[in-house]
């Protein structure tokens, strides 16, 4: 599958772990972009073709919730699937994001298998 994936997380360690898991699982042959804030994520969505966004919630400058809401409200980016990957303790907040159009969420800590299944399933459904 040749999908471009955008990882939005302020932790460089987490971005590296996610990127490596996706590569090792062979989930895409496309580009994997990474940024450290919601604001940078929106900028990236505006200038590069992205097929899937993996976004943390707690970030400086702009959090993942605000980024997701703006991306979903923009007709040019509203079709791009977003998965939230976060340590957020409030399950209701995560469910509200799903109700608003986010494709799903994965709670930290996650296993490589959980990430692989979640990303693989979403890519299959949205771009299969």
């Amino acid at each position: 599958m040749n999908c471009n994936i955008l990882i939005v997380d302020d932790s460089a360690t987490t971005r590296a772990v996610i990127k490596r898991t996706i590569r090792l699982a062979g989930l895409t042959d496309g580009q994997i972009y990474e940024v450290d804030s919601g604001r940078a994520g929106l900028e990236m969505l505006g200038c590069v073709r992205i097929d899937l966004v993996l976004a943390d919630l707690h970030m400086p400058l702009m959090n993942g919730e605000e980024m997701a809401r703006q991306a979903l409200a923009n007709p040019t980016t509203s079709d791009i699937p977003i998965i939230v990957i976060s340590a957020e303790p409030n399950i209701a907040r995560l469910q509200q994001l799903v109700d608003a159009g986010v494709k799903g969420f994965l709670r930290k800590p996650f296993t490589p298998e959980q990430l692989r299944d979640c990303v693989g399933r979403t890519l299959e459904v949205c771009h299969g």
């Binding site: 932790s11 460089a12 360690t13 987490t14 590296a16 490596r20 090792l24 409030n90 399950i91 800590p109």
Partner: protein
């Protein structure tokens, strides 16, 4: 930081904090948490303090003090061996500890009743170099220290209700 704390009457106690820390260390970095053979009375060498605050219905923080060596080991464990196609620059060792703390705080707060957790907002993890004997004595007196794969790791949670 505000050093005021109070006894916990919620399902958050020292045992739960230790259990959560053990679970998170094992899950993210394959690090085992064990009781410490003998207590430590001075800060570890090159000690670093990491903390994450939260606010809302309750305010407080989860705080960790670790030697710098542990931060490096944790990040190495998180990242695993470098892959051939891995073109990302290596993160700062403190970045892995901040992420550990972020995950730990989220896991601990999940133990709160849902009506409370829905009114709590987590902040961003912070780090500073830890120094000062007096500061250590105050922290150590209200914290728990464990052995994490040969490194001392000291953890504390502060929690107080916010009166509207």
């Amino acid at each position: 930081m505000d050093n005021c704390s109070m006894p916990l009457s919620l399902p958050l106690d020292d045992a739960m904090l230790a259990r959560s820390l053990a679970d998170v260390l094992e899950a993210v970095a394959f690090v085992s948490l064990m009781p410490l053979d003998s207590d430590i009375h001075t800060p570890p060498a090159e000690a670093e303090m990491y903390w994450i605050e939260f606010s809302g219905a309750y305010r407080g923080a989860v705080e960790l003090v670790v030697p710098r060596q542990f931060s490096q080991m944790l990040t190495d464990n998180l990242l695993g061996p470098a892959g051939e196609n891995d073109d990302s620059p290596l993160p700062d060792p403190g970045d892995g500890m901040k992420e550990l703390l972020n995950v730990l705080c989220g896991k601990v707060l999940q133990e709160l009743p849902s009506d409370l957790v829905s009114r709590i907002e987590m902040g961003l993890p912070q780090r500073r170099i830890y120094s000062g004997e007096a500061q250590w004595q105050e922290f150590h007196a209200t914290a728990e220290t464990f052995d994490a794969d040969g490194h001392p790791i000291t953890v504390r949670m502060r929690l107080e209700p916010v009166i509207a």
